[in-house]
Symmetry: C2
């Protein structure tokens, strides 16, 4: 006898049972419908790409996590997001695209992360991006967020919060303060949630000294409702201008202007989001978010499920003004947002959201053959299907009991039973699964009635 | 200035432009609808699995073509089909499944094949499988084929032919002839189309000697309409029985019985296909097909597009009685069929089928803002969308000409133009893109009319 293998998955990979898969697919279908209704085009790219393309702009962390193909001839790897391949696609196909090009894409991406709750090594992202040549209005930042909001609405998810910021504000602030080690300061802030306020502040102080770090601390603690927050940011930037800037043409002054630009963009996003019907309760300005991926240059956003911040962001993105720079001198600014479908599904399962998820009601039939009546069963099935009804024939010659159990397990509404007697008489037995009631009907009449 | 990278794909990977992607997705959507209407459940499995699972049953050819992940700790690879992971899934989740379990799955698979026309290294398969515990009626073989037929019908493809056989027939014949090197003979037949009749016959003769190879030649040349073919097979098997079998209990007799079993199954499939509405013109018995993958044990099928046989099979499958044997002693017979969506799409493009492919008609709008009217444009867009209309706002402040060009390129039917004058007057300009006609309407009336 052969040795048996234990059927199992690699750690960090998600797989769903059929009932969960139905819900997952329904969610994805609803979201895609939203994107299509808004004029986004479908896109698909290979999972494997040349390493030089995938890793050209990535920092150390990504490179450590990337899945590489074992191959002596060519360096190739699995994509770790859908944005880097998107940039490659847009440049490569730019003559066939209509700009501003709006796309959506569902696809699996791969990251060799440490195995932990809600983090998977293979996961689905559902992305929207808008990219244009030369110039892309700031209102598109709000547009992609509003599509994510519509996507959440389409599955009945209300308890989320977009946390947003604009990289120009912090970056401008650091320039204004004359801080040279910008990347390291941003790195420290990026860890804020993980290491806590105190450690974060200590790290920043060690990097740039106490006097300057005080301003960063003050900046990070700014909070309040949207309008209030924008006002606080303006007051804060004016205060620093008064203290640090001699002339606007100096580096400090440039920093101030950059800050102002970031605040202005944030303001425009807030305004446009309102117009687009995204409610204030779902939006927050959060200056502590950084987004690790280093291609963002303006707006950045993350999304948490209220009360479940610990699972991390389930939808993130931002503005990148220079993603195509790797390939071309053509300026192609873009903005994108990505729903982490696998993580979102995991969180929704954890918080019990899936238990109340309603799949669309649908009339469905099982046709049961008893004796030599398969041909007739198939014919009835065909009539039902031609009328758009979901219907299946049970082909195995099992007992009636077993076939009814099958219908029950699959939540099939009605069963048509055809035995040899019914066949001779031109009759059908119709059984309602939830009541158990069954009636014998005349076949021709029943088919003519179409009351299924 | 930075050195630029040429944006490109790895050889053997397909990528579509948005218009093609729309067609591809429409085709997949129609096919999936067929499968769901027939009670198939959705399934999804990881692209990366343990090597011990993927390669346990595979022969040398597969092993050479498999994509492996570079990893020192764990042997892992990319799936080369959806059937092997399906077997693993079914055993692993058997307590949560309803049997007979019918699934469909769309997914990418990977094979490092030589780069040639119609063969890709990454390609989509769209699979249906039915698996049961203990026993699965032969009519399910016809059922999965009929689903593929319905899938083809759903996209308007009529010029295909299922070529089918049953492994038991050839295998029984070889046993009856007392041939020991069965695998090698089957290997030679598998290459028939590639190397031609003469070379194939020479190879078989070299393997088993002239007297026996004559029977194989005769067998392979049997041809004719379905009923005729079944009759010829019966006559042929009786002839050989007369010449080779002394007693049924001898190995030769067992071979004869196996042949008979195969012919009987083929006959049942032919009969059930008719009941299921698959037309004779789309079905052929072709004894030369073998299907390389060695898990098949009964029915086998391939599908060619008439007049385009050179591209190979676009839909293949068969019966496997023992796929779960790797994991369990439980007998789990199954039958599956797989549409090679990427190859199918490639062939349909080559033969001009895509040019006449009709995407569903859909009313669509572009809302154009001229001057400071974006808020109003967004509001109009929302009304249209709430009524189910496909509609988008153009957010970039580009010239009217440029915006109309965008509408034209995206084949958008109607444009709503709102300038500052229209905003003040409560009017809208509606432009029909195909005629170029435009009228000014009262906003409230137009919205109330809902004549979009």
């Amino acid at each position: 006898m052969q040795n048996k293998i234990k059927p199992s998955l690699l750690p960090g990979f998600m797989e769903l049972c059929p009932k969960e898969q139905l819900i997952f697919n329904d969610m994805v279908g609803r979201m895609i419908k939203v994107y299509e209704q808004n004029g986004c085009m479908p896109m698909d790219t290979p999972i494997i790409e040349k390493e030089e393309i995938l890793l050209a702009k990535s920092a150390g962390e990504t490179e450590k996590q990337v899945y590489r193909i074992a191959n002596e001839k060519r360096k190739q790897a699995l994509r770790f997001d859908l944005t880097v391949p998107f940039a490659r696609y847009v440049v490569q196909n730019r003559n066939e695209l209509t700009f501003p090009f709006k796309r959506y894409q569902l696809g699996k991406v791969y990251r060799g992360e440490r195995n932990q709750k809600g983090r998977y090594r293979e996961f689905y992202q559902l992305d929207i991006d808008v990219v244009n040549i030369a110039r892309l209005a700031t209102s598109y930042d709000a547009f992609v967020m509003s599509l994510a909001a519509q996507a959440f609405q389409s599955i009945g998810l209300e308890s989320y919060v977009f946390q947003m910021s604009n990289r120009k504000i912090l970056s401008g602030l650091l320039e204004l303060l004359g801080v040279e080690r910008q990347q390291e300061v941003m790195g420290a802030i990026d860890k804020y949630d993980k290491i806590g306020r105190e450690s974060c502040e200590q790290e920043i102080e060690a990097l740039i000294g106490k006097s300057k770090s005080g301003y960063i601390e003050e900046f990070l603690q700014l909070s309040g409702e949207l309008e209030k927050m924008l006002q606080k940011l303006r007051v804060f930037s004016e205060k620093l201008r008064g203290q640090f800037c001699m002339e606007d043409a100096q580096p400090e002054g440039m920093g101030y202007l950059k800050m102002l630009e970031g605040i202005g963009e944030l303001e425009e996003v807030v305004k446009t989001l309102k117009w687009l019907g995204v409610e204030d309760k779902n939006v927050k300005i959060e200056l502590k978010i950084i987004r690790g991926l280093d291609y963002y240059t303006g707006a950045i956003f993350e999304t948490i499920i209220k009360g479940n911040e610990g699972y991390g962001s389930i939808c993130s993105g931002g503005r990148y003004d220079d993603l195509a720079a790797l390939y071309t001198d053509l300026k192609m600014p873009g903005v994108g947002i990505s729903i982490g479908m696998t993580r979102l599904f995991f969180v929704l399962k954890e918080i019990g959201f899936l238990e109340n998820y309603r799949l669309p009601d649908e009339s469905s039939y099982l046709i049961i053959s008893l004796g030599d009546t398969l041909k007739e069963c198939i014919a009835i099935n065909q009539v039902l299907q031609r009328n758009g009804v979901k219907s299946e024939v049970y082909f195995n010659q099992d007992s009636l009991k077993k076939q009814l159990k099958y219908a029950d397990a699959k939540a099939i509404e009605k069963v048509v039973i055809i035995g040899e007697d019914e066949l001779k008489e031109g009759k059908l037995i119709i059984k309602e699964m939830n009541t158990g009631n069954q009636i014998k009907v005349n076949k021709e009449e029943w088919l003519a009635n179409k009351s299924w």
